[in-house]
């Protein structure tokens, strides 16, 4: 036995970490305040994207994670059995469409840089884009095709990781809130205090999504991760008319933006069950889960501009979630710089589903003293940009 770990949070990040750590021989307990996959991981989409990321550490992690995802579906099935619903991994490919000459130019520049970083990004004329996606507006000016973009069903994926972890010996405690640190005689972190008793372990991993900052604080650490609200729309079922993931070109702008006002960027995709998902908005409004019709209207207006046939489709549902975001928009993976035994796997913003497998792998490498497949320094909790932004906010 290589030691014991408590993971706080049974969303997709915690579940993926539990699976990898328990399969690497650690004694894992995963604790969640509510039910498994009941928060952010069941409130978003399951896009596994390279298209929205410019060159840099996060793109590298995403590229590595996508490679892992490609073999995960069959592996998970062998770990948890065929009765489990499929995670629906599909390499669907994505098309970004620009709506005017200026957008075309910006998109081309972005794609050029991505190509140099190893992303398969193929420029499309307006006609070519409309050939691949016939319902795209005639008004589009050009596009870029990203054949690597893929998708999974995020909730099923999170539950599949968890089932695999359980099969490998992970204990799952739901309905259990972590309320404080368990400190040993030497004054060192030795586990957590929960709403249903103390849990001792050698290490504690905070994978509490948008609440990771709060949980870190409760455990004596420092982590600047908070919520960024997002809405999605779901239509009724219809015969398939959308074949790839389709985005407008402002998508890239919003992800890295610090603007606190309502922003939307369009992602449209049809699901295997026949519904169409239309996303999404970004707002920094804390944990206010209230309906925001202005956000819904804005998402709708942009979607019909990109694909006019959507005008007459029926929206049957809207939901919202809180993307866990770090101040510098890069996930936080690694040890707390000041509290030995405290680890983080959090801050994945709008990419946690895609990044989950690589995050789990990186965390396991760091915890087991191995060298990770992707350089870990840019994700270190103690990195300069995070510390700077912390200094600014406090």
């Amino acid at each position: 036995m290589k030691g014991s770990v408590i993971i706080v949070g049974a969303g997709i990040i915690g579940a993926a970490c539990a699976r990898t750590l328990s399969r690497r021989g650690l004694d894992v307990t995963i604790v969640d305040a509510g039910a498994s996959a009941g928060a952010t991981s069941s409130s978003g989409e399951g896009n596994l994207l390279v298209s929205d990321k410019g060159p840099g550490a996060e793109l590298e992690l995403a590229q590595h994670s996508l490679r892992l995802w490609r073999t995960l579906a069959p592996t998970l099935e062998s770990e948890i059995g065929r009765d489990f619903p499929s995670v629906e991994f599909e390499r669907k490919g994505g098309i970004v469409a620009a709506l005017d000459a200026q957008q075309s130019q910006a998109l081309d520049l972005f794609a050029d840089a991505q190509r140099r970083a190893g992303v398969d990004a193929q420029r499309l004329s307006a006609d070519e884009a409309r050939y691949l996606e016939p319902e795209l507006s005639p008004a589009i000016s050009s596009g870029v095709y990203y054949p690597e973009d893929a998708q999974v069903q995020p909730t099923i994926a999170a539950e599949a990781f968890l089932a695999s972890a359980r099969a490998a010996g992970t204990r799952v405690l739901v309905n259990t809130v972590v309320t404080g640190p368990l400190i040993d005689a030497d004054g060192k972190l030795a586990g957590v205090v929960t709403s249903s008793g103390n849990l001792a372990a050698d290490d504690v991993v905070v994978a509490a999504g948008p609440w990771a900052g709060e949980v870190a604080q409760v455990l004596g650490g420092t982590l600047s991760v908070g919520p960024r609200k997002g809405f999605l729309l779901v239509t009724s079922r219809m015969p398939r008319r959308i074949f790839h993931k389709v985005y407008d070109a402002d998508y890239v702008g919003a992800v890295g933006s610090d603007n606190h006002d309502l922003q939307t960027s369009t992602v449209i995709e049809s699901t295997a069950s026949g519904t169409v998902l239309i996303g999404s908005s970004r707002q920094n409004v804390g944990f206010d889960s209230g309906l925001d019709v202005a956000a819904l209207r804005k998402i709708a207006a942009k979607a019909v501009r990109l694909m006019p046939f959507l005008l007459e489709t029926s929206v049957i549902r809207a939901y919202c979630g809180f993307r866990p975001f770090a101040r510098d928009h890069v996930p936080v993976i690694g040890p707390d710089p000041a509290v030995p035994g405290l680890w983080y796997a959090a801050g994945h913003e709008g990419a946690g589903i895609g990044l989950a497998p690589a995050t789990a792998e990186m965390l396991a490498s760091l915890m087991l003293g191995e060298s990770p497949a992707v350089a870990a320094a840019p994700f270190a909790p103690g990195r300069a940009p995070l510390a700077d932004s912390l200094a600014r906010t406090t």
Binding site: E88, E90, R237, A272
Partner: protein
Amino acid sequence: MGTYRVAAQIDSIAPEPATVITISVDGVAVDGLLGQTLAGVMLGSDIMAWRNTSFGDQPRGLFCGIGICFECLVVVNGQRDVRACQRRAASGDQIEFHRDLPVHVEDAESEGPS
């Protein structure tokens, strides 16, 4: 056997004469009365199913009758997702059936959350 409109001559509520309208249901002309819903017109002619399900290809028609269950959806004059039990029929309405098949059960579970 099946559903029917109560014949005016024998109806104890003594209905006054109503205006007859004709709609097209999957290409077939069907008569009803002005003021009826699309479902009312179809049921009045013993048409009990007007949709097939997307996974199992099973016939469905009216269930709740009050706009709750969405079983009765039809395409009206090209517009999808119209509840036949809620929409008033107008003479000349073209009713088509939702034909969304096939959605294969194998890959039918994707979609984001609710």
